[in-house]
């Protein structure tokens, strides 16, 4: 099984660690349990989105689904790329790509906080043995024209979750409001397993042999190589060209979309590729992050590029809502 092949020198975790790791979930079990928990509470389980994003919020399952009146509940893991956060795999707490477990509840049930606390119990956190606090932390993304009100959830002094009541997205005021719960899976896993480095997290444990595979074995090479690319080798000139190309295509799609939604029949309207336009917008956002990590964006350019991407995100949100409305009215 390729990378999972056991090698004789593979670092095996012994059970002598001082911490309560005996029953702690592996990284993949943590994901299973959270997915199981939210699926049992009416969430659609989605797969990670297959375009580079900086956060689960940018997946269309959040960014677009929170728009408009239709109720929607979904949960998905989202590998999130933040080129500037890469540390060549040398920092035990920082990653270029971390994994979020994103839960979207639209509209939020009255007992949404209690549900969240139950989900912690489901992954083995006995709240009677821990200290939990909801501390003010509002979220804002100027590039997405989005903001919300909420908390960071602190467990024994560790921020494990961002909890947000979305108020605006793509420049559009939301109604109904959506609750977004974002679990930082690496942090939570490291906490549960009581390891000091993310790379020591046990990703999986073979039920039969007890063989363990660490996070480092699965992901370290990726962290190293992408840090090299993001900080050193990404071709700045080409990145700018890519940005221009994706932007131009996104704009063109949006312009066509506006015309088709105005004039077309129901079939024509439903065929308008708003979702493809959003992918192109996400590409631009990722390219911006890469350029930023390369230190290629000057002060004066920065504001301008953010405004360009925001214009795309706002444009997509508008067209998405218009398409939904046009189809609902038909």
């Amino acid at each position: 099984m390729g990378v999972f092949d056991a090698r004789p020198d593979t670092k095996l975790k012994t059970a002598t660690s001082s911490a309560p790791t005996k029953s702690a979930l592996t990284f993949q079990e943590l994901l299973f349990e959270l997915q199981r928990f939210w699926a049992a509470r009416g969430c659609i389980l989605q797969q990670p989105y297959d375009v580079e994003v900086g956060a689960g919020t940018m997946s269309p399952e959040t960014f677009l689904r929170v728009l408009g009146p239709k109720p929607y509940s979904v949960a998905y893991a989202q590998p999130s790329r933040r080129p500037a956060d890469g540390r060549y795999g040398e920092n035990p707490n920082r990653l270029f790509k971390h994994t979020q477990l994103q839960v979207i509840l639209k509209p939020p049930p009255q007992n949404v906080q209690e549900l969240y606390l139950e989900s912690l119990a489901a992954i083995g956190v006995d709240l009677h043995q821990h200290d939990i606090k909801f501390e003010e932390d509002n979220w804002e993304s100027p590039t997405l024209g989005a903001w919300g009100i909420g908390w960071q959830v602190m467990l024994d002094g560790l921020e494990i979750t961002q909890f947000t009541y979305f108020q605006q997205c793509g420049g559009i005021d939301l109604d109904p409001i959506t609750a977004e719960i974002t679990y930082g899976l690496e942090r939570i896993a490291a906490f549960l397993q009581d390891v000091d480095s993310i790379y020591d997290i046990i990703w999986m444990r073979d039920v039969k042999t007890g063989r363990e595979v660490t996070y480092g074995e699965v992901r370290l090479a990726e962290e190293v190589q992408f840090s090299v690319y993001n900080f050193e080798q990404a071709d700045v000139e080409k990145l700018w060209q890519h940005l221009d190309l994706y932007e131009a295509e996104c704009k063109a799609l949006l312009e066509n979309a506006v015309a088709s939604l105005k004039n077309g029949d129901t079939t024509a309207r439903s065929r308008v590729p708003v979702l493809a336009a959003f992918d192109l917008c996400l590409k631009c956002s990722h390219l911006f992050n890469l350029l930023d990590a390369r230190g290629a964006i000057s002060v004066t350019e920065r504001v301008g590029v953010i405004a360009r991407i925001r214009a795309l995100a706002v444009g997509v949100a508008k067209v998405y809502v218009a398409q939904r409305e046009a189809l609902a009215a038909a």
Binding site: A19, P20, N91, P92, N93, R94, P107, P108, Q110, Q113, E114, L117, L127, H128, Q129, H130, D131, I132, K133, F134, E135, E136, N138, G148, I149, W151, L155, D156, G157, L158, Y165, Q167, D175, P176, I177, F191, D194, D196, G295, I297, S298, V299, R302, V303
Partner: protein
């Protein structure tokens, strides 16, 4: 007499907003009851809060409003009765008032005779009034930031409302807000008590009922418990004390419902990191209290305030978790420290071109260049400082912002400046430069320390005045409560440094400071004027708030020649330390009869001048001695010249009492002058000469203080 309880149950309110909201809710409820005549003379209002609730208990509520007799006035008698018979107008009025037509009476007032009626109004039940009025009061609570959560967005509030308790004695008051109907059920601590409701039988039972549900609703009781527990945990370490921090105590008080304190530790090796960094990580990022020994040396321990109560096993788990987080944070800090040293600060200055200072004002690199120009100018006004120390001045200003490019400051933004100073020291640059950069952002508030050295003062002043001037240039000016770039604080900081810093206070005046930030002053006089007026407002405020002088004295000094400095040639300007020193002494003397008397005389002189000006008379700048005829005017002219010399000499030596007595000594020549000399005579030459003499008199005194401001102060004050 009844008691009333209102509790609004919420999802966690931001800690920083709770105290104000608790106070406002209590005030609103009290005002409502007063307005509705439902509050007994003997009453008591108590308010409570936790992260999940705001509450108020009022004892001394009337069950019902008192009945009132109301006198209504209707149409005039002439309209109401025709031939002694009630007209439809009278009938309609009687109906509206709810009385029989026969019960109408005649009311005579200034305008004539009208019909009237006496109406008995029955008082409403307190429960009805409260149910009707409270939703509006709750909805009106002020929040810095609020949100929507319900479909259709019917209301905005700080966080979703989850329950409401409203009880008048044992009876539920049917208040409804945000779709929540009040009842008598509250909720306890999320974990320690769980989801079961807590029955509140009556307002008087509120505090105890919640205490048994593991919630201390009384904020002061919680604060007290936290302080006591911090002390107790500290006592387990020999000779230790926790670093007092009222703000942090306040924050954790508002983050907990059932606080307990936990002592944790970290590896000694982290103590090699600077205290500033360790404490910032603990305090700002983890909300931990730092511990120190008797010599104020940091100990490898911390105190965390928990919102729960656990047994020894639980405490071990929580301690372990918190220690783990702190270790990771310290590791980060050490990593940042090491990585940052790879590029010394001197090589980071260029990188500032990529750090925005303000979107309309360019980068920090440009800001640095402006600061440098200002520091150059100001140091030339600090007797020889420029020529002696320019190398260090330049280095300090150029490196001052370089720490903004470091990983450490990106992570711990509140440490800007401090990190720069620590790195300068680490990188073997002059100690003077390190101190200046370390202290450049001081003072952060009116009770924060000011920069201690000359170089630090210079850097802080140059940085602040440049920011103010550049912002004013772009019309970013504080208005009302809006001051997003804290320009008032920056201005007040400059004033405080000018007055208080021992190395500059004898030498530096505000005028060259303002010049320094806008050296193309000729082209931009209006900007200079606006910045100056803004700074003088800060001075006036500072003199009142920090020096304790009364308003009139602050104004008199603000308008003085020493401050306004029409003549800003070298040697003419006085250091601001003198200005404040003089203001203090003048404040003490304002009540004395001599000062009041001379102030009144000077005011009279100023009035005569003003009236002449209004008539279009323009006297010469200086009186001509040959035109002085009357002995009284000759004497006044002589004494004014003498007093001027005394003022100028003594003020600069800090002998303020001498300055004031010299001014007071003008009382007798001025009296003699007004007794025997007529100013507004027909002979224009003579008239203008006397006006010039008076003008000089006023101006000589006004150099120290505008005494006309002091005339109104009564001697008993």
């Amino acid at each position: 007499m009844s008691a009333f309880l209102l509790e609004i149950g919420l999802e966690e309110i931001p800690a920083r907003m709770i105290a104000a909201a608790q106070k406002e809710l209590a005030e609103r409820v009290e005002k409502l009851l007063t307005r509705e005549r439902l509050l007994a003379a003997a009453h008591r209002v108590q308010s409570y809060s936790t992260p999940r609730r705001l509450a108020v208990v009022v004892e001394g509520v009337l069950a019902q409003q008192p009945d009132v007799q109301e006198e209504l006035v209707g149409p005039s008698r002439k309209v109401a009765y025709k031939d002694g018979m009630p007209t439809p107008a009278a009938v309609a009025f009687a109906k509206k008032a709810g009385v029989e037509v026969t019960a109408l009476k005649t009311v005579t007032n200034a305008k004539g005779e009208y019909i009237g009626a006496t109406v008995e109004r029955e008082g409403k039940r307190a429960a009805d009034v409260l149910a009707a009025e409270l939703p509006r009061e709750i909805a009106s609570l002020y929040w810095v930031k609020s949100m929507y959560w319900r479909a259709g967005k019917p209301e905005r509030f700080v966080r979703p409302v989850r329950w409401i308790v409203a009880l008048l004695d044992g009876e539920v008051v049917p208040v409804e807000f945000a779709g929540v109907q009040a009842d008598g059920l509250s909720y306890g601590h999320r974990v320690l008590y769980g989801d079961a409701p807590v029955v509140i039988s009556a307002p008087s039972a509120y505090v105890a009922a919640l205490e048994s549900a593991k919630v201390i609703v009384d904020v002061e009781a919680r604060r007290h418990k936290i302080r006591k527990d911090l002390d107790a945990a500290t006592r387990t370490l020999p000779d230790a004390r926790w670093r007092e921090n009222e703000e942090l105590v306040d924050t954790v008080t508002h983050l907990t419902e059932w606080p307990t304190v936990l002592l944790g530790s970290f590896e000694k090796e982290y103590l090699t990191l600077p205290d500033e960094i360790l404490v910032t990580v603990m305090r700002d990022h983890q909300k931990y209290f730092a511990l120190e020994d008797a010599n104020k040396k940091l100990l490898p321990n911390f105190l965390a305030v928990l919102n729960t109560e656990v047994d020894a096993a639980g405490a071990a788990i929580i301690r372990h978790g918190n220690e783990r987080v702190l270790r990771a944070r310290f590791n980060d800090a050490r990593f940042f420290w090491d990585v940052d040293q790879k590029i010394p600060l001197v090589d980071r200055v260029e990188m500032l071109k990529n750090v925005t200072f303000h979107k309309d004002l360019g980068s920090y690199w440009e800001k640095t260049q402006k600061n440098l120009k200002a520091a150059d100018y100001i140091s030339k006004n600090l007797s020889g400082y420029h020529s002696e120390e320019w190398t260090n001045i330049r280095l300090a200003v150029e490196l001052a912002k370089a720490d903004l490019t470091t990983e450490m400051v990106k992570e711990f933004t509140e440490l800007q400046g401090i990190v720069g100073g620590l790195y300068v020291r680490e990188q073997g640059l002059p100690k003077e430069v390190a101190i200046a950069i370390y202290q450049q952002y001081r003072p952060q508030s009116s009770n924060d320390e000011i920069p201690t050295t000359k170089l630090a003062a210079l850097l802080a002043i140059a940085d602040k005045i440049t920011t103010i001037t550049e912002m004013f240039k772009k019309d970013i000016v504080p208005t009302g409560s809006k001051d997003p770039f804290a320009l008032r604080r920056a201005g007040a900081g400059v004033v405080r440094i000018l007055v208080e810093n021992a190395a500059v206070r004898d030498h530096l005046h505000l005028i060259p400071v303002i010049h320094a930030a806008n050296q193309t002053m000729e082209a931009d006089k209006d900007l200079r004027f606006r910045v100056f007026a803004f700074m003088l407002d800060r001075l006036e405020f500072y003199l009142q708030e920090s020096c304790g002088v009364r308003l009139q004295v602050a104004r008199a000094v603000r308008n003085s020649g020493a401050v306004e400095a029409e003549d800003d040639s070298p040697g003419k300007l006085v250091g601001y330390g003198y200005v404040a020193g003089f203001a203090r002494v003048l404040h003490e003397q304002t009540g004395s009869p001599d000062v009041v008397a001379v102030a009144e005389l000077l005011k009279r002189a100023a009035n005569i001048q003003r009236q002449a000006r209004e008539k279009g008379i323009n006297p010469p700048d200086m009186e001509s001695p040959s035109l002085l005829h009357d002995p009284a005017e000759k004497e006044l002219a002589r004494q004014v010249t003498e007093v001027n010399a005394v003022i100028q000499k003594n003020y600069r030596e800090g002998k303020y009492n001498e300055v004031i007595s010299a001014i007071a000594s003008l009382q007798s020549p001025l009296n003699a002058f007004f007794d025997s000399v007529m100013v507004m005579v027909d002979d224009e030459k003579l008239r203008d000469n006397r006006l010039a003499l008076l003008a000089r008199t006023v101006s000589v005194v006004r150099w120290a203080a505008d005494f006309s401001e002091l005339a109104s102060i009564s001697t008993v004050a």
